[in-house]
């Protein structure tokens, strides 16, 4: 039987506010335990939550960016369950009337085509604290610094049909929230994580299969692995006569498997009801318009502009636009090197430049080669001072020494030889020094052309202009 995979994602993005969603405690990551948890966060009796205006603004910004509708009136509800990292015994969330509903996000598939994924809703809620198990014998330690940190839970439609699509969607969403500056996107710190709803159905069947919810996946790699594992598990189960049960499963990244979380399964009756401590949230059209004015150029629009203005491929444009910083760097290089150098600029940034960043585990901001320096290198390639091959060596030196292209070229005497007479002289000498190879070549051994290219390059320390060398060599060898 052929199976179809159906996936929907719930992404939790921690909003980049200074303070918590309902209290004036700081949200800075990594503070000593419980130093950022006050009476509201701890769920003391008699306290009153007051909503953070910035969290609302960020939710509206997100809604506008995905073309969703922003609720004029939305309501906060209590989601009731017991867990030690949730001091109140309920999480303040939104249920029936979320702040954002509808909207879409388009992803690029491997074949280069695009697919639109529906967004069901996005709502505001508070994060829970953290449970720590290490260093405590038969006990659990609770750090409530994270309790009350604002989250935007973004729920997709079950529109994805493979783990790859799910990863593409998650990556695109990650790009978007960072563009919007509403989430720092730091997955290691848990600022951006997701739950995946996964089911399978026989190909062609309309009705969805029973789904399992995979909890708390905090890397792109894990989301793909967790879904692969879960799909195989469900198919095996059904094909051997069993049935998938609707349940919450935890992805264990050490073992690479998902397993049932029985403790939460029976508590899946959350008894939502409107939180009496919080009045309905009203958002005025004028406020929505003021937020709309602050929207940056979004990734898709930027990629389309790169393709149109600079003649880049859809793939290249997409890669460059995938991070606001990278896109800005590209535009700085193009501004300095000229639009005619846009394509080489894109190639260098995605090639040697990105590879060097990765190799040295550096952020773009810490790159030893600035946009102006890279533009300088592109100028020297364009005006034939150095060949593309020499440029790679120059770039390496620029990277390790933090110097400009001209300084490197001058200091090492790397100027390319474009003087026809000088190249011809080197060719003549090589031909004279290798009579046997010359005879063989003229007798039909075409492969020896490469040998002569190598010899001349060696004689000129790699400085001969490759295009000129090829042309002249062809003429001379006859």
């Amino acid at each position: 039987m052929e199976w179809e995979v159906v996936i929907g994602l719930e992404i939790h993005a921690q909003l980049a506010t200074r303070t918590k969603i309902f209290s004036g405690s700081a949200t800075a990551y990594g503070a000593p335990p419980n130093t950022q948890a006050n009476l509201v966060d701890l769920g003391y009796p008699g306290v009153l939550p007051v909503l953070n205006a910035e969290a609302v603004r960020m939710a509206v910004k997100f809604g506008l960016a995905v073309g969703a509708s922003i609720a004029h009136r939305s309501v906060f509800a209590r989601k009731n369950y017991f867990y030690p990292d949730l001091p109140k015994g309920y999480q303040i969330s939104q249920f029936e009337l979320p702040v954002v509903s509808g909207g879409t996000l388009s992803i690029m598939l491997e074949d280069g085509s695009t697919k639109t994924i529906g967004i069901t809703r996005a709502h505001l809620e508070e994060d829970a604290g953290k449970s720590l198990h290490e260093g405590l014998a038969s006990a659990t330690g609770i750090d409530l610094n994270r309790a009350g940190t604002p989250l935007l839970e973004i729920v997709s439609e079950p529109d994805m049909r493979s783990a790859k699509e799910a990863v593409a969607y998650m990556k695109k969403m990650h790009t978007l929230v960072r563009y919007l500056e509403i989430c720092d996107g730091n997955m290691q710190e848990g600022s951006f994580r997701c739950d995946a709803n996964v089911s399978v159905r026989p190909k062609g069947q309309e009705k969805f299969g029973t789904r399992a919810e995979l909890k708390n996946i905090n890397s792109f790699r894990f989301v793909e692995k967790a879904i692969h594992y879960e799909v195989a598990r469900q198919i095996d189960l059904i094909e051997s006569g069993g049935k998938v049960v609707q349940e919450t499963r935890l992805y264990d990244s050490d073992k690479g498997e998902t397993r049932s979380m029985r403790s939460k399964e029976e508590a899946n009756d959350y008894r939502y009801f409107p939180d009496p401590d919080l009045l309905p949230l009203e958002i005025e059209p004028a406020f929505i318009e003021s937020v709309r004015d602050t929207l940056p150029e979004l990734p898709d629009a930027k990629a389309a502009r790169f393709a149109a203005d600079y003649g880049l491929s859809a793939y290249d444009s997409g890669v460059l636009a995938s991070s606001r910083e990278l896109a800005a760097f590209f535009e700085e290089v193009v501004a300095a090197a000229g639009a005619a150098n846009a394509k080489p600029a894109a190639n260098w940034i995605m090639g040697d430049f990105s590879a060097s960043l990765n190799r040295d585990a550096l952020d773009l901001a810490a790159a030893p080669v600035s946009s102006a320096a890279l533009a300088g290198l592109l100028h020297r390639i364009a005006d034939n001072t150095i060949s593309g091959k020499m440029a790679k060596d120059v770039f390496e030196i620029m990277w390790s020494e933090g110097s400009g292209a001209d300084a490197v070229i001058q200091a090492r005497g790397l100027t390319q030889i474009t003087d026809t007479g000088a190249i011809e002289k080197a060719i003549d000498e090589c031909m004279a020094a290798n009579p046997k190879q010359l005879a063989d070549y003229r007798a039909g051994k075409d492969k020896l052309f490469g040998f002569f290219v190598g010899q001349v390059m060696k004689a000129t320390q790699g400085k001969a202009n490759p295009a000129q060398l090829n042309e002249l060599l062809k003429k001379k060898l006859g």
Binding site: T17, P84, G141
Partner: protein, 96 residues
């Protein structure tokens, strides 16, 4: 009686309350009485009335500027905790 013993069992479990054998009939009866009392509302025709999330009609949530107003007072708060270690609140082991 609108609630059964099983209903009360489930409610008690969700609220993490232990109800003894002796108490059970009392809860079945008294909780049923509460539910029946509120069920009177079901007789009112609410066809064209939008559900209210709050009794304070016409009022809406006040927003707070995103400014830090709280300082670290965990030592004071933790005096109320049954068990604390290395500034963590300590609870019985949670196994997942």
């Amino acid at each position: 009686m609108s609630l059964t013993r099983q209903d009360v069992d489930k409610i008690a479990h969700l609220a993490r309350l232990q109800v003894t054998e002796q108490e059970m009939p009392v809860y079945v009866k008294s909780l049923s009485a509460i539910v029946d009392f509120v069920a009177e509302l079901a007789r009112v025709d609410t066809q064209d009335i939008a559900p209210m999330a709050h009794p304070l009609v016409g009022q809406h949530q006040r927003l707070r500027p995103d400014e830090i107003t709280e300082s670290d007072r965990h030592e004071q708060y933790q005096r109320n905790a049954p068990r604390v270690q290395a500034a963590l609140y300590v609870v019985p082991r949670v196994i997942e």
